[in-house]
């Protein structure tokens, strides 16, 4: 088994941390995993992305050209990665910041009003957890309980009080994506 996830958005949207939470969950459940960020000038106020590869054997390339799963938190990321995601793959889109629908028909696209849902959970910075929850529903590479456990285990002590909000955000994102997958109107 090997699965790859690419998460992209603006710096400050929690892109890198969302990837790290999944990397921790993969490690804690006994998988091999790589987490690799874009780094350097493009991070300073521009776009950021990270790639997480989860596998049962020694991981070769930590980068993938055509990932099976993409989380796009803004329009530039959606524009770029809609074309690169694998046939049959999944794109989870933050429709709060993307004003168009997908053009491709050979992929599954989940639309999540991430900003609004995060606000509803009490903090707009929970966007990354809403989107992580949605991804787990559409791309079940990790179990929700495992990701939650990883978050609890690796979140610094000073942020531990935010755990319930983070769990709530993940669950809401998960439920939203599940409903969409099952054709239930939001």
């Amino acid at each position: 088994m090997q699965k790859e996830i690419l998460i992209a958005g603006f710096g400050g949207q929690g892109v890198l941390f969302a990837g790290q939470v999944m990397a921790y969950a993969a490690m804690d459940t006994g998988h091999e995993v790589t987490w690799i960020p874009s780094y350097g000038p493009e991070m300073r106020g521009g776009t950021a992305n990270c790639t997480v590869v989860i596998s049962d054997e020694e991981i070769g390339s930590p980068l993938v050209k055509n990932p099976p799963a993409v989380v796009a938190l803004n329009l530039p990321s959606f524009d770029k990665y809609e074309n690169l995601v694998q046939t049959g793959g999944v794109v989870v889109v933050n429709e709060s910041m993307v004003d168009r629908k997908a053009e491709r028909k050979d992929i599954t696209v989940i639309y999540v009003p991430g900003n609004e849902m995060a606000e509803a959970c009490g903090n707009r910075r929970l966007l990354n957890m809403v989107m992580t929850g949605a991804l787990l529903a559409a791309f079940p590479v990790l179990k929700m309980e495992d990701v939650k456990a990883a978050l609890k285990a690796h979140l610094p002590a000073k942020h531990q009080k935010l755990i319930p909000n983070n769990f709530d955000a993940m669950e809401k994102g998960f439920a939203h994506a599940r409903a969409q997958l099952e054709g239930i109107p939001a």
Binding site: Q20, A23, V33, I36, Y39, I59
Partner: protein, 371 residues
């Protein structure tokens, strides 16, 4: 020790600390600055020496000074900074003292960029400083290997009184992977018979790279070469993947090697009998292993994130028996597995000739590919 999710740069720094590093001297440069930052916090809290030098030139000479006292000392940098350290490296090699350096390579030449690259292979392996010298050069491809090789570097440097250079690249420095750090070793000051640490109760010592008499310098060069032969005999390290029945052999180190592994696996699924040799010591280079492989393989494919540098060492080992092809992405571009897969397919299905410089044909293919 439990597995932790560690960033390559941080892992290298912490591994060095646990290997008994007593002093670090460095200068900030991307993509290795997290190494310096980790030391900046950790070394003072352990009561060990940390200096942010005024330049890489100064940093390597601080390393030179501290190394003369016999303690475990290191510096780290990235490509442009390593160029500035080449003067000091030559002096260190000429003085025959143990030093550990890490180069988290980035795109070049010149200021280049900060993306992952393997453009400094020749600088490290075939000498970037003046004079004849052979440092040990290790090329990790994972965070775990970066840890293990950093620790190993100190042992090798001391065993052979030489510089040991770890060449990683920006992606290994910036990547996070689960890895296990070694247990904390106490700092052990060894009473080296050569260290200039104050002539208290003994004859004075001089450490220098001067041999003003050419005949003496010649003897020194020969002595260093004899030691290098020992290193070549004892310290070659590499990793083999699917080579047992391989008709085709991909050779790649570091990140290029692990990207090639993905391509080799896919090619195997497609029925191509291809394997991968990933040199871990690029100096000493696994010439003998490649020599043996060249007696049963039909062709080689060298994959590097540069314009073809290790390529020459593979050719030296293969001795023209079979074709050695090249695929490279220079300038800070990391290849994707599908590019290497296409190259494997090409090598496996084309009637290739032995040529002295396969880069000319590669260049033509690259121009076509980039259109």
């Amino acid at each position: 020790m439990p597995r932790e999710l560690l960033k390559g740069n941080v892992a290298i720094a912490e591994a060095a600390i646990r290997a008994g590093l007593e002093a670090y001297f460095g200068y900030p440069i991307t993509p290795q600055t997290e190494i310096l930052e980790h030391f900046a916090r950790r070394m003072p809290e352990l009561g060990r020496a940390f200096v942010q030098a005024e330049s890489e030139v100064a940093a390597i000479n601080m390393v030179y000074g501290a190394a003369c006292t016999g303690v475990r000392v290191m510096s780290t940098s990235s490509s442009p900074g390593m160029s500035l350290m080449m003067e000091g490296l030559s002096y260190i090699m000429g003085t025959e003292i143990p030093v550990v350096l890490v180069n988290v390579m980035r795109g070049g030449p010149g200021l280049g960029n900060i993306a992952p690259s393997q453009g400094d292979y020749n600088q490290a392996v075939h000498g970037g400083g003046h004079g004849d010298y052979n440092p040990i050069v290790l090329a990790p491809s994972t965070v775990q290997e970066a840890i293990d090789m950093t620790v190993l570097s100190f042992d090798l440097a001391e065993r052979y009184r030489t510089a040991c250079i770890v060449i990683a690249d920006g992606s290994i420095g910036q990547m996070m992977e689960p890895a296990e750090l070694p247990p904390m070793q106490p700092v052990k000051r060894k009473d080296w018979e050569w260290a200039t640490n104050g002539a208290i109760g003994r004859e004075r010592r001089i450490l220098s790279s001067i041999y003003i008499e050419p005949a003496e310098e010649e003897v020194a060069n020969l002595r260093m070469f004899k030691r290098w032969q020992e290193i070549q005999k004892n310290e070659v390290r590499y990793k083999e993947y699917h080579l047992e029945d391989a008709d085709f052999v991909v050779v790649g180190f570091g990140t290029a090697g692990r990207v090639a592994l993905s391509a080799v696996r896919t090619a195997r699924q497609q029925g191509i009998k291809v394997g991968l040799l990933r040199p871990i010591t690029v100096n000493p280079f696994p010439y003998d292993v490649l020599d043996e492989l060249s007696k049963r393989a039909q062709a080689f494919l060298v994959v590097e994130m540069n314009m073809g540098q290790m390529l020459n060492d593979v050719q030296l080992a293969v001795k023209g028996r079979v074709p050695v092809e090249f695929y490279g992405r220079p300038g800070g571009v990391v290849p994707f597995p599908d590019e290497i897969l296409s190259e494997i397919q090409r090598v496996a299905t084309t009637d290739l000739q032995v040529v002295s410089d396969p880069r000319h044909a590669w260049y033509e293919r690259m121009v076509e590919y980039l259109k």
